[in-house]
């Protein structure tokens, strides 16, 4: 394998390791929230330092790669994509930490009615599925799957849009649980943000493989182009 490919593989592998760690953080954060497990929450908070270390390491690897290999074309796009994916993964890691901080303060598991009406559990599942699929899209150089990931963000947005009124009603009915309800609303917002960040990552996968910039396009145009272009690459 040429030297340049060995270095690029190293970079991709490091990013995929970070991806695994952040996925684990999201899963553990969910577990801690659902079971009010303060110990697990504490571990998630502590482990965020490791995510930050990955962030710094990957930034440094990209900097070195630019300086030593002056990449062009697909190589350049890959390193630019890795830089941006890294930044998004680090923020998703922060979100997992934020959820764990909320879970740490819980005395008992959240009210089942609140969980069911807000649909926070399926929302969390959908965010995790997007996250996992996007990792596969990056690992397998699959822009078609990346486009599917972008489409699935709609599910999260739909749940998010309804959450305000649902939580308001719940608080009116259960004024003694306003604290929990507000915290859960903030988690729903965080999960909506995770959907956006995974969308950003998926856009970088498409940029890397197809040399196409699709960010900031309207949803309509995105949908149109994801139907039209089937994995063209050079």
């Amino acid at each position: 394998m040429p030297h340049i490919d060995i270095e690029l593989e190293r970079l991709k592998t490091k990013l995929l390791e970070m991806w695994d760690l952040v996925e684990y953080q999201l899963q553990a954060g969910r577990e801690a929230m659902m079971t009010a497990d303060a110990e697990l929450a504490k571990q998630v908070i502590k482990r965020d330092r490791k995510v930050n270390q990955f962030d710094v390491k990957i930034d440094r690897m990209c900097e070195n790669f630019f300086a030593l290999f002056t990449p062009v074309a697909v190589d350049l796009r890959l390193v630019l994509a890795v830089l941006k994916i890294n930044a998004n993964l680090e923020r998703i890691g922060d979100t997992a930490e934020g959820i764990a901080r909320f879970a740490q303060k819980l005395d008992e598991p959240l009210d089942q009615e609140l969980l069911e009406t807000t649909k926070v559990v399926p929302m969390y599942e959908a965010a995790l599925a997007m996250f996992t699929d996007c990792r596969i899209a990056f690992k397998n150089n699959d822009p078609v799957l990346a486009k599917e990931v972008i489409k699935s963000d709609k599910v999260l947005n739909k749940i998010y849009r309804k959450s305000d009124s649902i939580v308001t009603k719940y608080m009116q009915k259960n004024p003694e649980k306003i604290g929990d309800a507000l915290a859960l609303l903030s988690i729903i917002k965080k999960l909506e943000r995770v959907g956006d960040q995974v969308t950003n990552i998926a856009e970088e996968v498409i940029f890397y493989r197809e040399a196409k910039v699709i960010k900031h396009r309207s949803d309509k145009k995105k949908k149109k182009s994801s139907g039209k272009d089937k994995g063209k690459e050079v």
Binding site: P2, I4, P71, V72, A73, D75, L76, R77, A211, V234
Partner: protein
Amino acid sequence: MSKKQNKLEALNLDAYYGDFHALKGINIAMEEKAVTAFIGPSGCGKSTFLRTFNRMNDYIDGFRVEGQILLDGKDIYQKEVRVDELRKEVGMVFQKPNPFPKSIFENVVYGLKIQGIKKKSVLEEAAEQSLRNAALWEEVKDKLDKSALALSGGQQQRLCIARALAISPSVLLMDEPASALDPISTAKIEELIYELKNDYTIVIVTHNMQQAGRVSDYTAFFYMGELVEFNKTKTMFTSPKDERTQNYITGRFG
């Protein structure tokens, strides 16, 4: 925004060295007052192609061309075209600096003297202007009568550029003009190319991908006598269309 004129064009150009088919059906149009870089592996035909623009290949036994090369819309391979007139219009700078074993001044005004210009004031003015345009004047203005061979490699190359500019061409062909120079001299030549494109149409052959990226507006990739891809340099180095171009510029050829 008005589109620039095409200065040089090749139409269905084929070139042969005896039986060897060196250039195959080349079609390209190069913009006026822009820098076009030719890239490709050794033996791909890029230097042969460059040399067709001032008919430098004419002296090579067995060399022949089919098709057309147009300079300002006129075919330079027509019988009535005088090659010496053509070369006044299309100057050339080579890989290795090749100053004549004469003074700096005599080198610069050599072409003008051949044209019959003898008036000292005219020659002096032309020498200063050409040396200024070649970014060499400040370094040599006090030693114009010294031998050109005493200059450094980078200075010699800029002297050759000044010599080419003195006869007021509109096109400058450069065949790897900085490949024999150190990084500082290379940077000076690149800076000079950037300045010169305000007044000249420049075609440069280079093996240095970063140099092509830095100095050129358009890049043409040649492979085995074919023009594989021609596009804006930014596009070529970020999202080339042909896989062969991508493999070449990313260093994964073969």
